[in-house]
Amino acid sequence: MQWFDALIQGILLGGMYAQYALGMALMFGVMKIVNVSHGDLVILLSLVGISLASTLGLGPFTVMAALVPLAAVLGWLLQKAVLNRVVGEDPLPSLIATFGLSLALQNLMLQIWSANSRSLPGGGIESRSIQIGGIHIGLLPVIVLVFAVALTWGLDLMLKRTRFGRALRAAASDVEAASMTGINPRAVYAAATAIAVGILGFAAVFQSLRSTVAPADGGAQLIYAFEAVIIGGMGSVWGAFLGAMVLGVAQAIGFRIDPGFGVLAGHIVFLLVLATRPQGLFGRA
């Protein structure tokens, strides 16, 4: 029973990680770049959301309605000002640029919000739970998982069915051929990053509702997103989602064994996948 409980909690935790991982999978799939400041953007948006809530007295879902468009604009600006200049065959420039951005963002947040941990008041939903067959399931983690499924499903549908999705996939598989057919890769990239960071707007609200955030937490979120993408298999949004579930379950079971072992258990599963199935559990060989 205790292990079944860990499994359930792990899947719910995976819902949180899936929201980080979707954007990273999308950006890597389209541009072959990794945004090192991915996690710091989650923290930045969380802190902005917390400040919004406390100064204007907004509820969590109103904050979300404000944060998601803000995040999308932030992503679009990031692509226009920085990433469009460094995208290319060589991974070094994009890594260094986003690494520098991460360092600057982290310390800027430290300057503005100080090193204290904060959280978003949820008006009670963060503590409510449902009891099913002897297992307490928090209402908030269920909402997080529902949002994660909806976002993954929506992103997958957009990539497969819409005109914009086709343009994205075309730019991902061959930029030159795509631009010959009238697609502007830079515009497509800007929209992809806007979506990737926009999803982080949802993640930011949930992260600050379910636990606390502090300026230095970004690195850990980046690592979880990365591990979910690699475990699941690069190149598909459902792969990233399932990878996030595996990571969440590994961490939840690790925490049950020993509280100091939780995060490490996630890393170990990641390394095992890398050793035995480098294309990812759900990736094509």
């Binding site: 200049r85 070094l92 420039p93 640029a97 690494f99 360092l103 600057a104 300057q111 690069m234 490490l264």
Partner: protein
């Protein structure tokens, strides 16, 4: 005489330049100066120079990885911490002579780097970098849970009390000279050897280099392991001087920030760039370090700007204007004049 014109032209390969000879002489003088520090510097100065030498060595290791082998790592602190801990365990727990233990502790990064590389090289381009960070996190978490290294509480190197202050100063000074000799001198020697030729070919274009018979995979593996051992030496020496080690300090990601800043601002893929970058970082740290967070905001923004607009860094701009390398690694073909 037709025979004369049939003869191949007389050529000579010039590998050293006047600027290179001057720099080499200065380098040797600097090494002697470092080794002789106990006779001309106070303990505070020696500790400061030790930190400077650690920056030079870590930055040069990162430069070899990212600048030549195309392996961008943000997790070299894994090997610094591993060797640092190995030194503390050997010297403190098992009573090995600490100065000997510095060298023995290098076996740990050497042995750990092999499986790490075999796993990480499967990751695509930028994912490799984040993978190295995960490895460093794994090392930190393992150290935080391992009773052998006193888990999260950390260890102290109290055996150093057995040595007088002067003896410790001599050791620190010799280690300073060794760090610079191994990182800068060793890289220079390596880059001038036939491996260096292969490495430079690989830096310019890995596919073309492979078609010329360069074993790109083996060379990358060698550089990764060598950089791990180099960073291990820095870690062992640094934490010996610190006398204390705990998981957050041993595996501090700040070392990656420093190495990346130094190499990118100074100029990637050049030894000169590392020396210039270290000097800039060191001076900036002394003068602006007290501003804390806002100082790091400036460092971060500078790193972004260099990546966007000046990828060759300061040395790249200098060498475009003046062709006077301090550590020349190019081979110049000089045509000898026909003797009358």
């Amino acid at each position: 005489m037709t025979m004369v014109s049939m003869m191949p032209p007389q050529v000579r390969i010039r590998r050293q330049t006047a600027s290179g000879r001057i720099a080499l002489a200065l380098f040797v003088l600097a090494l002697i100066g470092l080794a002789a520090m106990p006779w001309w510097a106070r303990t505070g100065t020696i500790r400061m120079v030790l930190e400077l030498c650690c920056y030079i060595a870590v930055a040069q290791m990162w430069n070899m990885l990212a600048g030549y082998a195309g392996l961008v790592s943000v997790g070299q602190q894994a090997f610094m911490g591993a060797a640092g801990y190995a030194l503390f365990v050997l010297a403190q727990t098992f009573g090995v002579n600490p100065f000997l233990a510095v060298f023995l502790s290098l076996l740990v990064p050497l042995v750990l780097a092999v499986p790490c590389y075999l796993l990480l090289h499967r990751l695509d381009g930028p994912y490799f970098a984040i993978g190295t960070w995960v490895v460093a996190e794994v090392f930190r978490l393992v150290a935080s849970n391992l009773p052998l290294v006193n888990a999260g509480a950390g260890m102290s190197l109290s055996v150093m009390k057995d040595y007088s202050a002067f003896q410790r100063n001599i050791a620190m000074s010799l280690f300073c000279a060794l760090l610079v000799l191994v990182s800068i001198g060793g890289s220079y020697w390596f880059l001038r050897s036939r491996f260096g030729l292969a490495l430079i070919a690989m830096r310019d274009n890995p596919v073309a280099a492979a078609s010329q018979g360069v074993n790109v995979r083996r060379l990358r593996f060698m550089i990764y392991v060598a950089a791990a051992v180099g960073c291990g030496l820095v870690g062992a020496v640094y934490f010996m001087a610190q006398l204390r080690i705990n998981p957050p300090s041993a595996f501090d990601p700040m070392w990656s920030n420093i190495a990346i800043f130094i190499v990118m601002v100074g100029g990637i893929a050049s030894i000169e760039g590392v020396l210039i970058g270290t000097l800039i970082y060191f001076i900036a740290d002394r003068y602006f370090g007290e501003y804390g967070a806002s100082y790091f905001v400036v460092l971060g923004v500078m790193t972004v700007l260099v990546a966007l607009y000046a990828r060759t860094g300061i040395w790249g701009m200098i060498s475009k204007r003046w062709d006077a390398p301090w550590f020349p690694i190019r081979r110049h073909l000089v045509l000898e004049r026909d003797k009358p």
